[in-house]
Subunit: 344 residues, 2 copies
Amino acid sequence: MERLDRFAASLLVEWRVLKLPTTGAAVVVAVSGGADSTALLLALDELTKAEKLDLNLTVAHLNHRLRKGSHNDARFVSQLADALGYPAIIGRADVNKLANDDNLEQAARKARYAFLERTAKRTKATHILVAHTMDDQAETVLLRLVRGSASEGLSGMEAVRKISSSSRIEIVRPLLSWARRSDTEAYCKHRRVDFQVDPMNLDEQFARVKIRRQLLPLMQSFNNRIVETLSRTASLLREDSESLGGDAGKLLEQASRKSKEKGKTDYPALDVNVLAQAPPALRRRALRQWLSDGRGDLRRIERVHLLGVERLLEGSKGGRVAELPNGTRVRRIKGWLELIVKKG
Amino acid sequence: MERLDRFAASLLVEWRVLKLPTTGAAVVVAVSGGADSTALLLALDELTKAEKLDLNLTVAHLNHRLRKGSHNDARFVSQLADALGYPAIIGRADVNKLANDDNLEQAARKARYAFLERTAKRTKATHILVAHTMDDQAETVLLRLVRGSASEGLSGMEAVRKISSSSRIEIVRPLLSWARRSDTEAYCKHRRVDFQVDPMNLDEQFARVKIRRQLLPLMQSFNNRIVETLSRTASLLREDSESLGGDAGKLLEQASRKSKEKGKTDYPALDVNVLAQAPPALRRRALRQWLSDGRGDLRRIERVHLLGVERLLEGSKGGRVAELPNGTRVRRIKGWLELIVKKG
């Protein structure tokens, strides 16, 4: 047996760090045909043929039909899967039609993940592998930084997360913490596979391209390892967020306990005294969680709205109201915060 | 009485938010002669003359003697203080001589804060006012981002902090959370005072200038309010850090309790089981605090050293050692982490 290529060997190390199954599991690999996902597929293939992994692997590709030539990507992926000996499922979506509220990029992402989830269910897969690299992570961190995210957003993408809270299917990013884009390109070349040039950048995606082409290179002139640095910062901030999120959950539980016992309102009201004494970092997260649970989502809720709710906690007076988008209101009555959601 | 200028009125609002004394207190104002500190002095003067503040105010200026013309700054500050009717204390330091281990910029900052502290003691002042603006905060955040800081560093400068843990003198930055550099310049012009052009940028300071002239303008092309955005992100991350820091202190207390009772070593040893079960974000902070307490500082301790210490917590085996700079070692013996500091 030949020695593993360094790229495949690194993937195997990360595979073990993430405690992913090495044998028997069904997995879906999302392959766009670009260098990153092609390299991921090739490395999984190398590990399979070297008998390091024994997986039931399905290649998945969604044709977004957003531009001419997207069928070439689909054909490339399906031929590559065929040549390597894996089944490929090619989906189609007319993202232009789907994009309503969302911009094109969001619509494309939604369509892609919905397709991947369907494909995973159909193949009884437990893991969906996507090929985001450290460069994608650094870009995500900077994109969120310029848009005003704090630690949750700045922690970037997760290496492993459930596709939804009720599902047992996990999205896994086994390249995220170690692979550079230049590594995936070099590995494809080494394997003599011509990857497709990455799909045109859509719409709002423009900001990401500008980050890649302008902001990151400028930041690299301060720190030659800026991508690695941002990726590490993201993972430290993720640890912070997880710790704070857990504590905020406990705070929310504590602030709503009495109200739940009394069944005061449809949604549990929150005890003002409990919240007012909590550290601001936990209070802010607990209020976000409460609004999200009560309303179903945080759509259109901005920082200014949360500040309005936090201001209700000041002083000893009740009888005040904070107005939120879509007719949601938070009312302080005596020692309680009540959430009033406009019924659709 | 005339209406307050908007700049002075904003300073008064922040003064109340920070709960600073409005009457009777002795304060030192650090004035370099640049637009920011000149505007701060002028606004304090406006508030004093409008009888909003009644402070015992001393102007302090340190001549770093780093360049020709630095005596002009000193003369400008002393004449301005004189014209407004406040005493000025002008100090001198030969920063070039002081800079050994430190670079010039660090040496200058150390000399400046030491001078400000001496001046505060001499005048029995409780507060030292410095004129950092929101722009300085944004630059600090980005400087720390490119250097790899996580949430502690990315929270930037504090609006109020003790000059040292044992002192009751506070460093106050009353412009930090709201004033833009353009505001300070406009206010100086409005008051018809010619501020000095800011001192030449020293040495490593070069990175800060590049951030100001290149990185921030590029980021502004993504978000026109990038300075305000970064400043707000910093304050949210500060809240996170404070909450986590408090919990890490409790974790450290809990992990060292048994060892303190037994008087095991010079420095309390830490209970591996307690640390291993704690969330990574708290464990990391508790270990940093423990090393800092035991060694006196964290000089030359880098992320890689902390990772070495964290790895000692893995598995069940003792008898392993992590080497740190300056001969410090952390040893795992059975269920304990011991700190061994080389005696100077």
